[in-house]
């Protein structure tokens, strides 16, 4: 207990000095200026774009979509073929009673989902529909559909090449399949694998500080300000205070070992997601007569948009971009979360992972988009950073109390995303710097520092940089996946033959 108290005091005093730093006049400006050239260079490289029909298309987006398309064809539409079987696995039809107490397919999926369902679904969709018109929804759904194949590939590999440590804990994800998987192909590939794994780990650490942390803190604070009186409210300039509170909570979980907070969050988050979906469906049902017109607008807008800069390409770009932001398919983060499952057939987790982009992008994003279209709240002049407020406004038209619920949901989604990403980042960090108390602590301190920074400063450059880092993860990850496709295919074919021949043992068939 005393140890805990000492730890807490250090934590709070440490965080207080962060916020003092953050409050100092002009310091955010200084940091902004200092990192801007570097951040711009990285963001510029990752998001380097080429013009198509007058629209600047970032290369990384093309990289993600091409991979997802190739995987879909290479595995012969696994996203459709294994959809039913994936559900049977999640439901536990093939659960071995003897492994009761281990991580089930359902648990692995639910955990991965709580790391991805979040601001992307709420804020991103509003931005996509506003900037790309209703038609963006169509391309978002298509991108989600193709993204299912990317998740299938990376999550199968995540389980296949995970490392089971002597103490019984599991470590998995792109770092491991890039090194161990490519090493199986010979000395040259082993070298390439190492380089890719190190690159991935560097980007993953960056992404965990940025998109998995600062962006979350920043956006949830924005929504909190939005419901507590806006810019004139008492909270408006108290970003540092908000950051301090969130950092303390995150710190209690990741440093204090107070698992209870994380455990409670992990139980409330699915509940909030269900409330969000039910509220969305309720609005859609209450305006049922407007639904056919909304779908018509989605289809027409997808192929012959009016008044959208860049025409079809412009709409397609908005839809694809927000889908990729939201479900992280091809980025490799989910492969870390999925690798904990208990199975001796890695491909089964791939089937289960199909449901991640399906739920995240096809179900939740479509509901959000329909609500925004039906309520007519989309606004082409929206500032891309005000996505949450736009969705909030759309739900408010029907349920005036919804912004408060949404605020709680956003806070919880952001919190659980931070906890997940702190784990991803830590794994990447220890992969780079070794596993010991000092590296562990240094990462966690940095992570908490960025929570305060993210909520108290307007660091446009840093936010751009962190988005870039998350997307940069897709370069080493997918490149490695291409080389490892035959491995996945072999696993898939062996399993599929057993499945079709009825050689798999069903639960309850003793």
């Amino acid at each position: 207990m005393t140890k805990l108290r000492v730890g807490l005091t250090t934590l709070v005093s440490m965080l207080a000095s962060f916020s003092a730093l953050a409050q100092e006049p002009g310091i955010d400006e200084k940091i902004n200026l200092a990192v801007k050239p570097f951040a711009d260079a990285v963001a510029g490289a990752v998001f380097s774009s080429f013009p198509v029909a007058g629209v600047q298309i970032p290369f990384v987006l093309v990289w993600l979509i091409i991979a997802a398309t190739i995987f879909t064809f290479y595995f012969n539409f696994i996203n459709l073929r294994a959809f039913k079987h994936g559900f049977q696995l999640v439901r536990g039809d093939y659960h071995d009673p003897k492994s009761a107490g281990e991580v089930t397919h359902f648990q692995a999926l639910a955990t991965a989902l709580s790391g991805t369902v979040g601001l992307g679904n709420i804020a991103g969709v509003a931005v996509a529909v506003s900037l790309g018109g209703p038609g963006a929804t169509f391309w978002m759904i298509l991108a989600g559909f193709l993204g299912m194949s990317s998740k299938f590939t990376e999550c199968t590999l995540g389980v296949k090449y995970r490392r089971e440590l002597p103490d019984g804990t599991v470590s998995g994800g792109p770092m491991y399949y890039l090194t161990r998987g490519l090493a199986e192909k010979g000395a040259n590939f082993a070298r390439l694998g190492k380089v890719l794994a190190v690159l991935f780990a560097i980007f993953c650490v960056g992404g965990s500080f940025g998109g998995g942390n600062m962006f979350q803190a920043n956006q949830s604070f924005a929504q909190l300000v939005n419901v507590t009186g806006g810019d004139a409210g008492w909270l408006a300039d108290k970003g540092w205070l908000f950051g301090l509170i969130i950092a303390t909570l995150v710190g209690l979980v990741i440093m204090g070992g107070i698992r209870g907070i994380a455990r409670v969050t992990s139980k409330i988050v699915p509940f909030m997601a269900v409330i969000y979906v039910i509220a969305g469906l309720a609005i859609i049902l209450m305006n049922f007569s407007a639904v056919p017109a909304a779908f018509l607008a989605i289809f027409n807008g997808a192929f012959s948009p009016e008044g959208i800069s860049g025409g079809v390409i412009g709409v397609l770009f908005q839809g694809f971009k927000r889908a990729a932001f939201s479900n992280e398919a091809g980025v490799g983060s989910a492969a870390i979360a999925h690798s904990a499952v208990k199975t001796n057939r890695p491909v089964t987790e791939g089937f289960v992972a199909l449901y991640e982009p399906f739920v995240d992008t096809i179900v939740v994003c479509t509901i959000t988009a329909l609500v925004i279209i039906i309520t007519g709240t989309w606004d082409p002049s929206v500032d891309p950073s005000a996505g949450v407020q736009l969705t909030s406004k759309a739900f408010e038209t029907t349920f005036t109390w919804f912004p408060y619920v949404l605020t709680v949901a956003v806070l919880l989604f952001a919190f659980s995303t931070m906890i997940s990403w702190s784990y991803y980042g830590l794994k990447a960090w220890t992969f780079l710097f070794g596993e010991n108390k000092l590296t562990d602590l240094s990462y966690k301190v940095l992570f908490l520092f960025f929570v305060v920074v993210g909520s108290s400063m307007q660091l446009g450059a840093v936010i751009d940089f962190s988005d870039a880092m998350i997307f940069a993860m897709a370069f080493p990850n997918l490149l490695g996946c291409y080389f490892l496709l035959p491995v996945v295919k072999r696993e898939l074919n062996e399993y599929w033959a057993d499945y079709k021949a009825g050689r798999l043992v069903k639960a309850g068939a003793l």
Partner: protein, 144 residues
């Protein structure tokens, strides 16, 4: 078919009486007696990434603790009385898992202690005894 008994224990008094009852019957008939303990667990619960990564380790610890603190003392005591006793520990829903264990081991009679829960509580949470009586494919004895 010779009779095989299984007693479900939960570390409480009622479980203790069930053990005595089962031991008495096993002693008379010479039947094998399984002593089963179920660790409450659901395949559909929500957890964090870190919990999942450490799950296998925790599970081993939970099983070890269940054996050393609950099952082993009972098993060694009954063995010293000359009974054919085997301890079992499994994660899951109590009633469901006792049925699975019974089926796996060709048990002919499951013995459990009564919970003595109020009607309302039983309605909300269900009671192990009544679930077993209605669901099991073998005889069920509820010991008061």
């Amino acid at each position: 078919m010779s009779s095989v008994l299984m007693v479900g224990v939960d570390g409480s008094n009622c479980g203790g009486r069930a053990v005595e009852y089962a031991a008495e019957h096993a002693g008379k008939s010479g039947a094998r007696l399984y002593v089963a303990y179920v660790i409450e667990w659901s395949p559909f619960s929500f957890s964090t990434v870190q919990e999942n990564m450490e799950r296998h380790k925790r599970r081993e610890e939970e099983l070890k603790r269940a054996y050393s603190e609950i099952i082993d003392p009972i098993v060694s005591r009954l063995k010293s009385e000359g009974l054919d006793v085997v301890g079992l520990v499994r994660h899951g829903d109590v009633a469901e898992t006792l049925q699975i264990l019974a089926k796996e081991n060709d048990v002919t009679n499951i013995i459990v202690g009564r919970q003595g829960t109020s009607k309302l509580k039983a309605h909300v949470f269900g009671s192990v005894g009544s679930h077993l009586v209605q669901g099991a494919e073998c005889a069920v004895t509820v010991v008061p």
